[in-house]
């Protein structure tokens, strides 16, 4: 066996080391000093993130897209970049969860870190899989610990219910996806390597049925619309940190993995998937928007907003070109900072007062101007108002679809941007214009949350203007 293959897996190996060390520190110091374990987990993961940014440019190793473990595992600069983006997002989630982990969840904070990191490991594997077996293992490694994370508030009725809904739909969707994969196995000459499927996929009815099953399975993970029914309940019942993680990290990873699979395995049959994706995107964006309008609970509201954002992310998949990939990754990057900023505000208010309704945010600007400002920026950026970063990411993703001559799709997506502005601005209106009957008292959030919010805010404002970033993403996309 060729052990040099492991050199290409440095992200995974470093993450596994961090996971083991987190468990060990909890084992040794957990009884006496929970705070030390928390700082150790945060510090270790920060080290992993920074290391990931500096190490592992595949092109430096002399081979721009090496085939590791007999093509089972695929890596390139783009995969490394996506893993780095996931790392940064997870670290921000950890920062926002710090307060929750020191108070309510003090007993089980190390488990929280360990489980989150194991889902992250699953997403790494899912993103760089080159075979449906590794893809399935990655998907399950990501979704099984996520179910336990959703159920983390053991004493809460809502959390248990949300977890039951999540774990059952996740298992069902992966069952449907597996049925699709097994039919693909039958009809593609008995190989599940993406490269072999590319050759063997010649649009037999069985293959098309298999592809539909596969899309249905991954549609559950991405919460595309006909498969979205778990999203709102799970997002509302889960602890807020886990909701943020679900809405950003797991969605971004699944979207990129779907792009890779469609680009690798089904590239020769665009007429099969373009049609399916077209309809999926249109209904996802529209229904997500229409349902978001009538939500009053902020977490439920963010759930429907993230459904419609998933539709926008899927636009990059529908484009299916190199430009589509770069705009998808750029969109996920911007969406990560924007959505996490919104969740940071929501979770800090929830930690302080336990309030989650939009009506509770009335007059937030008078009592907590900074939080209201960050929330406003996040809403503007999610809605795509220039000059914030969300505008640029939407622009690029529309350009990538426009280039494929899908004019109607772009038009519908643009119309939906207008609808989405309405409900994003409802939050801004509540915070700035409405008269507070029962305002949230002025409070100071903890340092970790503040640092996280500052990072998110700076990225939201500045990232759109750093053209070098987009050029870098474009230069490594394939």
């Amino acid at each position: 066996m060729d052990y040099t293959n492991f050199l290409f897996m440095n992200h995974e190996i470093s993450l596994v080391v961090v996971m083991v060390l987190v468990l060990l520190t909890d084992l040794i110091f957990g009884d006496k000093n929970k705070k030390l374990c928390q700082y150790a987990a945060l510090g270790l993961f920060l080290a992993h993130t920074v290391l990931g940014l500096y190490l592992g440019h595949i092109s430096d190793m002399g081979n721009s897209s090496p085939e590791v473990f007999a093509d089972m595992y695929i890596t390139s600069d783009m995969h490394i970049l996506v893993k780095n983006i996931l790392n940064i997002g997870t670290f921000l989630v950890f920062m926002f969860a710090f307060r929750w982990n020191t108070t309510e969840n003090k007993e089980h904070s190390s488990e929280f870190y360990f489980l989150t990191l194991s889902t992250l490991l699953g997403m790494y594997l899912m993103v760089s899989s080159g075979h449906f077996l590794l893809f399935y293992i990655g998907l399950e490694t990501a979704s099984i610990p996520l179910a336990t994370l959703v159920a983390f508030n053991k004493k809460q009725k809502e959390s248990a219910e949300a977890a039951a809904k999540y774990v059952l739909t996740a298992a069902f969707s992966s069952g449907v996806m597996l049925f699709g994969i097994s039919m693909l196995y039958v009809s593609c000459n008995g190989s599940l390597y993406f490269n072999d499927i590319l050759e063997a996929f010649d649009k037999q009815p069985l293959q098309i049925m298999a592809f539909a099953c596969f899309i249905a399975g991954i549609g559950f993970k991405l919460s595309l619309v006909p498969f979205h029914s778990w999203t709102a309940d799970t997002y509302q019942g889960a602890p807020t940190a886990v909701t943020a993680y679900l809405s950003v990290i797991s969605k971004g990873a699944a979207a990129f993995a779907l792009f890779c699979i469609i680009g690798k395995a089904f590239a020769y049959a665009p007429e099969v998937w373009k049609n399916i994706l077209w309809w999926l995107i249109v209904i996802t964006i529209t229904i997500g928007n229409l349902f978001a309008i009538r939500q009053t609970n902020m977490k439920r509201f963010m759930a429907f907003s993230s459904i419609s954002q998933a539709g926008y992310i899927m636009l990059g998949v529908a484009a299916g070109s190199a430009l589509g990939m770069s705009s998808l990754v750029y969109y996920v990057l911007i969406y990560l900072f924007t959505n996490l900023a919104a969740f940071g505000v929501i979770s800090s208010i929830e930690n302080e007062t336990g309030k989650l309704n939009r009506d509770d945010y009335d007059g937030l600007y008078e009592t907590n101007p900074k939080l209201a400002l960050v929330m406003m920026l996040a809403m503007f950026s999610l809605g795509g108002i220039p000059p914030f970063a969300g505008c640029f990411s939407k622009l690029f993703i529309f350009i990538s679809v426009f280039e494929q001559k899908e004019y109607l799709l772009v038009f519908i997506a643009l119309l939906n941007t207008v609808i989405s502005l309405y409900y994003y601005l409802l939050v801004v209106k509540a915070m700035f214009i409405k008269d507070p009957k029962n305002p949230i008292a002025t409070f100071k959030s903890d340092n970790m949350t503040r640092v996280g919010l500052i990072i998110c805010t700076i990225c939201m404002i500045v990232l759109g203007f750093i053209s070098g970033l987009y050029q870098y993403i474009e230069s490594i996309s394939f």
């Binding site: 179910a147 159920a151 298992a171 069902f172 992966s174 069952g175 049925f179 019942g237």
Partner: protein, 109 residues
């Protein structure tokens, strides 16, 4: 006795759709979990039958085993998934004193 190859696939398709029906129609969370297991078993039958009868070992030195291996992984992961799901259902029972899907409806708008 000679069993026609198609019957394996008919069996697996039937199992799959029985599972889908059970997932939609059943109200008890444990029954829903059992329906999911049916779906996964349908997948396993598909893989194994395909590997044995449709894609037999053409090359003795390098036999094609992907279907069998996939099945092993599916069984193992399904076991892990069931363990987590059962523990979550137990927690639901502790909180709600009930595992009827109809009565677990705290979360709705």
């Amino acid at each position: 006795m000679n069993i026609p190859v198609a019957s394996y696939f008919i069996l697996s398709t039937l199992l799959f759709f029985i599972g889908v029906y059970g997932f939609v129609a059943r109200k008890n969370l444990i029954s829903i979990l059992m329906s999911i297991e049916l779906i996964l078993n349908a997948v396993n039958i598909n893989f194994v039958a395909a590997n044995r009868y449709i894609l037999p070992n053409l090359n003795v030195d390098k036999p094609l085993m992907e279907g069998y291996i996939y099945t092993l992984f599916v069984i193992a992961i399904a076991a892990a998934e069931t363990a987590v799901a059962i523990s979550i259902i137990i927690n639901v029972y502790r909180q709600h004193k009930n595992i009827d899907a109809k009565s677990i409806n705290e979360l709705k708008h």
